[in-house]
């Protein structure tokens, strides 16, 4: 499905952020990546859809090495990878409907997109998805009129509009309150299960990761130091991932 092979990334030569990361993600289920700030979680996620250029290594996705693609081939591959962002990254001045249809831009010519000529199926699916994420009736609202939780729902719906084979989420709950965070994680889980696509999610909140993820990957210093189920993640393992002990009290 998705396999990272010896993936490395250095923004500055000589100081690698990712070091020889090897990771395989199965055909379904939620995988949470945890680790302290600055350990390369975001970089790892962004390397997969090449928002960040990996320095070396391979990203095998459906028998294709994404690291070698460029131009139209890369754009075609990106269509199959939906992404949810920490700060939602909606286009604030567009309506909720326009933001959702952004998810179809990889399938529609720029000229048709400019004239808002999306197919009736796309528009129908957008309305269905608004129902799924609990925002029916919001189609014509401008994105900047929504609350944080509502925006993230739009962000998830936009990613699902792509009909992705893989869903990436970069700290999707870090800007939200605890209650909304749980709701957003529930939504991500539901969406992943009902469409049977794997979800790879970066998280700060260890408890939330334990609660929702079938598999937890711990990162430290640009390397994977833990890979297992939530039950295996005891204090010793957490100390290994985050360092120190005082914060566990």
């Amino acid at each position: 499905m998705l396999a990272l092979r010896n993936l490395s990334k250095s923004y500055v030569a000589g100081t690698p952020v990712l070091q020889d990361v090897n990771l395989e993600v199965g055909a379904r289920g939620i995988t949470a990546i945890i680790g302290a700030s600055g350990t390369g979680k975001s970089t790892l996620i962004r390397c997969i859809n090449r928002l960040v250029e990996p320095t070396s290594g391979a990203i095998l996705f459906h028998n294709q090495d994404l690291a070698r693609l460029s131009g139209p081939a890369l754009r075609r591959a990106r269509r199959h990878i939906g992404m949810v962002f920490q700060e939602y990254n909606l286009v604030e001045r567009l309506t909720v409907m326009e933001n959702l249809l952004t998810g179809r831009l990889g399938y529609v010519s720029a000229w048709r997109a400019w004239r808002r000529k999306f197919s009736p199926e796309d528009i129908g699916r957008a309305f269905e998805l608004l129902d799924v994420v609990g925002l029916s009736g919001f189609a014509q609202q401008r994105a900047d009129a929504l609350s944080g939780g509502q925006r993230q729902r739009v962000g998830i719906a936009r990613a699902v509009m792509q009909e992705p084979r893989l869903l990436l989420a970069d700290e999707p709950t870090s800007s939200l309150d605890p209650k909304t965070s749980v709701e957003i994680m529930e939504l991500l889980t539901t969406v992943g299960r009902s469409r049977s696509i794997p979800v790879l999610v970066n998280m700060h909140d260890v408890e939330l990761a334990k609660r929702f993820a079938e598999r937890i990957v711990g990162m430290r210093g640009g390397k994977i130091v833990f890979d297992g189920v939530a039950a295996d993640l005891d204090d010793a393992k957490l100390t290994m991932i985050y360092g120190g002990e005082g914060w566990l009290q």
Binding site: N49, L51, R75, R76, A77, R78, R79, H80, I81, G82, M83, F85, E87, N89, L90, V91, E92, R93, L94, E98, T102, G103, R104, L105, G106, Y107, V108, S109, A110, A113, W114, D144, G155, R158, Q162
Partner: protein, 290 residues
Amino acid sequence: MTDRAAASSLTPADPFRRDVWPRLAAIALVAYVIYACSRLDVSWERVEAGLANASHFFARLFPPNFERRDLLVKGLLESLEIAVLASTLGIVLSLPIGLCAARNLMPAWVTWPARAIIVMARSFHPVIVAIVFVKAVGFGALAGVLALTVASIGFIGKLFTEAIEEISLKPVEAVRSTGASFLSVLTYGVLPQVFSRFIGFATYQLDSNLRNSTMVGIVGAGGIGGTLFAAFQRFDYDFVCAILIAIITLIMVGEVLATAVRAIFIENATLIDLVRGGGKMRRVRHAEDD
């Protein structure tokens, strides 16, 4: 605490940072102003004599003489045509040029030529550019249109570039991640963020082109400026007054129109809102737009 205070030479008695350079700069400025006045023979006697001349001139302005209405209307219409044509051309051309000059979206080999065009377009006052175009394409409105088009490219292009360079790249990243083509990234990720500001620049430029179109005529580039200049030279001050009143009217009408366009595009007002003055209500809601 005392160590830090000593290090930055601040004492309790004098807690403000005293810097000698701003004071020196102020003294230098005053000295230069005095020097320039002496060089340019600026004196109070001359200002006094000038005021007397001015009052004589103002007395002859009134009453305004609207007898040569045909000439006046023809000149005004030509000015209006110059302004609208130059603004349209300028807006259409400055969009791609401004986009190409944005360093956050384009590689250096694209931004440098685009920036060079904008800098050149901004280097000279429209009147100087008009003189060049009068030499190139002859007397008449075409020279005026071309001159003001250049000015529009310089102004809108520069501000549009700056607006694009200030956008948030987060939505752009999100749109890219969907596999959208570069053009779709522009139309969905970039343009929505700068559209209202672009409308603002464009209407301001139309306003400014209206004013400048009344002036390029002085150097023979068409419009009412030529008529105004001729009237001045023939001491037809009452006709000058009529022309000035006509220009003021034109500018005011232009400003009302520009405000309406801004209200419709930026505040999503309808024509009915504008008549009722309801646009202000929406302005509060989208206050962050400007």
